[in-house]
């Protein structure tokens, strides 16, 4: 049994602002085990940042339980906060200070040795620019500074809300490698991001949130398998026979649709049955590939946010799961 670093049960939060109350979290659950890189996914406005802010004690929840490293939050937050490094939605820093001053002041505030500052700059690739004012930094450089500030504590739990925001491709790859290294060193990482290909590569587990509720969770492979369509792509030797082939497969009890120059067949147990059925009618298969669902399509399906041609989707039009699921 691996130990839980982060546990959230039934978290509720309703913002009360001028536009009337807005329910941002509606009984949200989350579970992160030690040593994982955990992806936290959800459409815009689904409650990711709200969850992380609540965890960090920046906002008060209206109900539910939270634990970090086994300690009840928010009561025990002052005790565990030294073990939690976090950036929440591109944190801003005082623009007129240099990056070094910024981190050095944080190190003082957190009772950390000043030597950590250089270590953190080295890690995020800002060493040579550390003495420049934050005001003059580019978006990606500010983001790197933010990550450096979260790493400064050498935390056991690292929470990164959209750390890749504004990073260049090289930066994204560096971030990925950095997270792999940190996680190998025993750090637990919670990572919210919209770059799903990235999440699919680096995360051990994911939690997907939609309108304040969890819609899926678990190891990436399981989430993909549970929602993979089991489709097979079939390319024939001659494309003119597609219509005929489709009806042959239908007769064999398979759901087949013509999709451009190939067929998509679903409900397939053994792909061999396709080629057998077609060969019996003198139709020869040139290519037979099982269609693996990727995280993006699973995400779009689960959250109901796939774009529909001719329709404009509003931010809150995503899937709501019934509570108690």
């Amino acid at each position: 049994m691996t130990s839980s670093v982060l546990e959230i049960k039934g978290l509720k939060k309703t913002y009360r602002s001028r536009g009337g109350p807005r329910r941002a979290l509606d009984g949200f659950d989350m579970h992160v085990e030690a040593g994982q890189v955990h992806g936290f996914l959800g459409p815009n406005g689904s409650g990711k940042t709200t969850t992380l802010r609540t965890l960090l004690g920046l906002i008060k929840s209206d109900g539910g339980e939270m634990r970090i490293l086994g300690s009840e939050l928010p009561e025990a937050l002052p005790k565990v906060v030294s073990q939690v490094g976090a950036i929440v939605e591109s944190p801003q820093f005082f623009a007129n200070f240099t990056a070094r001053d910024t981190l050095s002041l944080l190190a003082d505030a957190g009772d950390l040795p000043q030597s950590r500052v250089d270590w953190a700059f080295e890690l995020v690739g800002l060493r040579d620019r550390a003495n420049e004012r934050v005001k003059t930094y580019s978006l990606g450089m500010k983001q790197r500074l933010a990550v450096a500030s979260a790493l400064l504590k050498q935390p056991r739990l690292l929470i990164l809300d959209e750390p890749a925001n504004g990073l260049d491709p090289g930066g994204i790859r560096e971030m990925r490698e950095m997270m792999a290294t940190l996680s190998a060193g025993g750090m637990t990482v919670v990572l919210s991001s919209h770059i799903l290909s990235e999440i699919q590569v680096i995360c051990d587990q994911v939690t997907i949130i939609s309108l304040g509720r969890r819609v899926a969770y678990g190891p990436v492979s399981e989430v993909l398998a549970a929602h993979s369509t089991g489709q097979v792509k079939v390319v024939l030797e001659s494309a003119v026979d597609l219509g005929l082939a489709a009806s042959v497969l239908m007769n064999a009890g398979l759901a087949a649709t013509v999709n451009g120059d190939h067929l998509l067949v679903s409900g397939v147990d053994k792909p061999a049955s396709i080629s057998r059925a077609l060969a019996a009618q003198q139709l020869y298969v040139a290519e037979l590939t099982p269609q693996h669902a990727d995280l993006e399509s699973v995400f779009l399906e689960l959250t109901g946010t796939a774009p529909v041609p001719g329709q404009h989707r509003s931010v809150d039009d995503s899937v709501r799961v019934e509570s108690g699921q």
Partner: protein, 327 residues
């Protein structure tokens, strides 16, 4: 303690702090230069020069009178004997010399110049110190390091007040030293007994307290609004509507002693221990005009009012940071 160190570093690292102090010292220095330019020591030579000037001026006036006005006066006046030249006693040496800078007489009167300038600076520093933290998001970031909000805000306020006490005392010493120097070159320091120094010292301490109060006020307002602009907006609103507007309206409505509603009057009372307000018109007699009614405003009243305002705003700021979400 680590947070205290970090906050103190932050406070003195801010360019705003440095610039406001430079500007404040420049203004105080310019005022000092003005005093030097308009005052001078009454040395025997200076008195002699003044007397010579007075004599020359008298002679000139008399000559002018004899030449022009005498004939005209004698022609039109019923009593030609009354047509005399200007009286000699009007032409004293003092009128032809710059006044002396009397340290003992002036110090208490102009202490408000230092105190008001530094109080304004303290207000701006207090407001921007926390306001910039809130609006830049640095405050939110800090709270993810230090989740105890009351203690974070308390530490910041403490560091601000400590720094302003130090800055206030340092500038008070500079101001006093400057005035002493001015008195030495362009006046005198007669009568500065130990008890005179004692009461000046107390007035200076009241000034430092006032500076700290303004810092706390700016800090509290900016923290409540989570932006520097709120504090500055309130300040401008109070000055324009609450002070200039109010004083016009009250004066027009003939409210007796309307000065008691004006902040500078209270500041003056706080520093001088008491001020007399005049109201209800004047009765004029041969010995000058005397007000029909006077009312005394003491530093106790003004101090209590100021303390109440500062405590209320600060308490609200602490209550708000405890209660409100940081998002």
């Amino acid at each position: 303690m680590s947070l205290v160190k970090a906050e103190r570093r932050r406070f003195f690292k801010r360019r705003m702090t440095v610039w406001m102090l430079v500007i404040g010292l420049a203004i105080l220095g310019a005022i000092g230069a003005g005093f030097v330019a308009t005052h001078s020591k009454h040395t025997p030579e200076a008195v002699a020069a003044g007397e010579a000037k007075a004599k020359a001026a008298y002679a000139k006036e008399v000559r002018e009178f004899e030449d022009k006005w005498k004939k005209e006066c004698e022609a039109t006046s019923k009593d030609p004997a009354a047509c005399q030249g200007p009286p000699a006693e009007y032409f004293t040496a003092e009128h032809y010399m710059k006044p002396e800078f009397d340290f003992k007489l002036f110090y208490g009167e102009i202490l408000i110049i230092w105190a008001a300038i530094m109080a304004m600076i303290a207000f701006v520093l207090g407001a921007t110190y926390i306001g910039a933290e809130w609006s830049s998001g640095a405050m939110m970031n800090l709270l993810t390091w230090r989740p105890k909000r009351i203690s974070v805000l308390g530490t910041k306020l403490g560091v601000l007040l400590g720094s302003m006490a130090a800055i206030g005392t340092a500038t008070l010493l500079l101001w006093t030293g400057m005035l002493w120097g001015i008195a030495k070159v362009a006046g005198h320091t007669n009568g500065m007994t130990g008890s005179a120094w004692g009461s000046f010292g107390l007035a200076g301490l009241r000034g430092v307290a006032m500076i700290m109060a303004f810092a706390a006020l700016g800090f509290g307002l900016a923290s409540l609004g989570r932006h520097t602009a709120l504090a500055l907006g309130v300040a401008i609103g109070v000055v324009i509507v609450g002070q200039i507007g109010l004083s016009i309206v009250l004066a027009m409505a003939d409210v007796p002693f309307f000065e008691r509603y004006l902040i500078p009057v209270h500041m003056d009372a706080w520093l001088k221990k008491s001020v007399e307000l005049e109201g209800g018109g004047y009765t004029c007699g041969p010995s000058g005009c005397i007000p029909e009614a006077v009312s005394e405003l003491t530093y106790k009243t003004s101090g209590l009012i100021g303390l109440a305002v500062v405590v209320a705003v600060t308490a609200l700021a602490f209550w708000s940071i405890k209660r409100r979400d940081v998002a």
